[in-house]
Symmetry: C2
DNA sequence: CGGTATCCTCTCTGATACTG
DNA sequence: CAGTATCAGAGAGGATACCG
């Protein structure tokens, strides 16, 4: 039986982590950019139900957290969004979260049978 | 340069994960139980600003997700909450999230200087 | 095209009182 | 002690119109 020991400051770090990728649209947006969408319009159209207001807000938050970068291409007059190298370093962590989510869902479903 | 590849169903798993430990009070509550608090009153008093309503609701959600278990001790007339073995299996993941949160915070602070 | 501004709704949260 | 019930406020999110 393992023992969990967490310090108070860790809780703050953990809440920060969750906040950065939390909310209704952050992950769908990340997913969309993963799939090659770079422009505002492309991202917006790739996510059903997402409004321009929420997209603008969430892109700004992700940018503030250095997970994506906004590059204004003056030549062609459009902005492009892409992942930062910083974001890419955390692919493994994301994968761990995904793996946990899948196991968790399976466990909950099993427990309801 | 690493490439991130995420499937659509992964996004759902990820949102589930975040939902389970998201919100304002889940992590402080987990932290409190970590520190040996087992009874409703003890947990409530250990977290400034937490109301009985939110504690009751969050304990129920954590219980629904099998992360904690509620044990009614009829002999002494009190309920006790404790982590499930299931929750303990994911200590490593929690630690990874904490580590990420700390590095992330340091990076953001550094970028603002 | 790539956003802002405005208004509205709805959920989450807070304060407080009450109960077995 | 361990909650539940009720009401009210704040903030996230949605619909739509407008702007450089």
């Amino acid at each position: 039986m393992k023992k969990i020991v967490i310090e108070e400051q860790d809780i703050n770090a953990l809440q920060d982590t969750i906040y950065v990728i939390g909310g209704k649209w952050k992950l769908p947006i990340i997913y969309s950019i993963c799939n090659g969408n770079k422009r505002f319009m492309d991202i917006e159209r790739s996510i059903p139900g997402l409004t321009t207001r929420m997209l603008a807000r969430n892109l700004k938050e992700l940018e503030d957290n250095k997970l994506i970068s906004r590059i204004m291409n003056a030549d062609i007059g459009v902005a492009e969004y892409e992942f930062t190298e910083y974001a890419k370093e955390y692919g493994t962590l994301i994968m761990n979260l995904i793996a946990w989510g899948k196991k968790h869902r399976a466990m909950i479903i099993e427990s309801l049978r």
